[in-house]
């Protein structure tokens, strides 16, 4: 740690590594995007907002003029098995005279970033939706995990199409 503290450039070094372009950015974009055959971008954002709220998200940021929605929902991240395992390790190590602070996930926040982009020449709107979860453990340390399984985005798009269909809009 002493060596790290002498490195005045640590923030730049971290930003260069952690902020580098994703190697699979094109595949992720493809997987998280869908095209909707309708001309009105706002109609799509209205439906997307309703689906997010139906899924339990609170919309924390909205900029319809830029085609942006951002939301989050809280979930308890505590798993009985993980807690029991960590306590068992702590007890076992204590018997050997070793001190160990058990660590388990405590709170999590699922975040969604949704963007739309009008494809005017095609008479369509492109939508992209990305999900991530932020987990904080019982020691207060946070980590982020991208939820990039195809079901997350395809399931969401399906709900949006169903919602539009229920309003008589085929997209």
């Amino acid at each position: 740690m002493a060596g790290c503290q002498q490195n005045a450039n640590w923030a730049n070094e971290f930003a260069l590594k952690a902020g580098a372009p994703l190697p699979n950015a094109a595949q992720l974009r493809e997987r998280e995007s869908a095209r909707f055959a309708l001309r009105n971008e706002t109609t799509l954002l209205v439906e997307a907002t309703a689906v997010l709220q139906d899924l339990g998200f609170t919309v924390e940021e909205s900029a319809p003029r830029l085609g942006v929605l951002a939301g989050a929902k809280d979930r308890d991240a505590t798993e009985v098995g993980q807690v029991a395992g960590q306590i068992a390790i702590a007890v076992g190590l204590a018997l050997l005279g070793v001190q160990y602070n058990p660590v388990w996930d405590k709170d999590q926040l699922i975040r969604v970033t949704l963007t739309t982009f009008p494809l005017r020449s095609e008479g369509a709107v492109k939508m992209r939706v990305s999900f991530e979860r932020i987990v904080v453990n019982n020691q207060g340390l946070a980590r982020a995990e991208r939820l990039d399984a195809p079901e997350f985005s395809t399931g969401f798009f399906e709900q949006v199409r169903k919602g539009l269909a229920s309003r008589g809009i085929r997209a």
Partner: protein, 176 residues
């Protein structure tokens, strides 16, 4: 997924280990000259303001950032990547078909927010991807010193924290 989580955790642990102890929420501004900072953080795009703002948003999402705030009126976007890297960008119309983009990033660790002032970060990790997304060549900052001030990235709510108030003032679009 597990391997990625491990990598992210390892990065964060390394970050925490490297972060000097400071009181909470201390902002550590760059000590580089203002014109040098402005030069590395600013580019000109041959596009109108809205197209550029949408290009910035698409680029941030491509880079794996979560959008925290977006304000169409002010032309600012703020985003977070992992849990410790924040980036904000402002777009400002320069002429009918030219827009100035200014980005500003910071790294957060142990309540200390340190401004990123490495030109390689802004070029390789933001402006090159922005140019690719918009299919345009970006030009260097105008020498007359014009352009927006560096926007301060906005913090996002963490798990267990109370609801953050909406910042941009635009309500989410709702069914009539």
């Amino acid at each position: 997924m597990k391997m990625r989580s491990f990598t992210v955790l390892a990065l964060l642990l390394a970050l925490v280990a490297c972060a000097p102890q400071q009181p909470a929420n201390t902002f550590v501004a760059s000590t580089k000259p203002a014109n040098e900072l402005r030069s590395m953080q600013t580019r000109v795009v041959e596009a109108d303001r809205e197209t550029t703002a949408r290009g910035v948003i698409a680029t941030l999402q491509d880079l794996g950032y979560r959008i925290t705030r977006a304000d169409a009126e002010a032309g600012t976007v703020s985003a977070t990547r992992l849990t410790g890297l924040r980036l904000a960008a402002t777009v400002e119309e320069r002429s009918r078909n030219q827009t100035i983009v200014r980005a500003n990033a910071s790294v957060l660790a142990l309540g200390r927010e340190t401004q990123v002032d490495d030109p390689n970060f802004y070029q390789a990790n933001f402006f090159v991807p922005l140019g690719n997304t918009m299919s345009r060549n970006l030009m260097v900052a105008p020498p007359d010193g014009s352009g927006p001030a560096a926007p301060r990235p906005v913090a996002e709510r963490l798990p267990g924290q109370r609801q953050a108030p909406a910042a941009s003032g635009e309500p989410p679009p709702a069914r009539p």
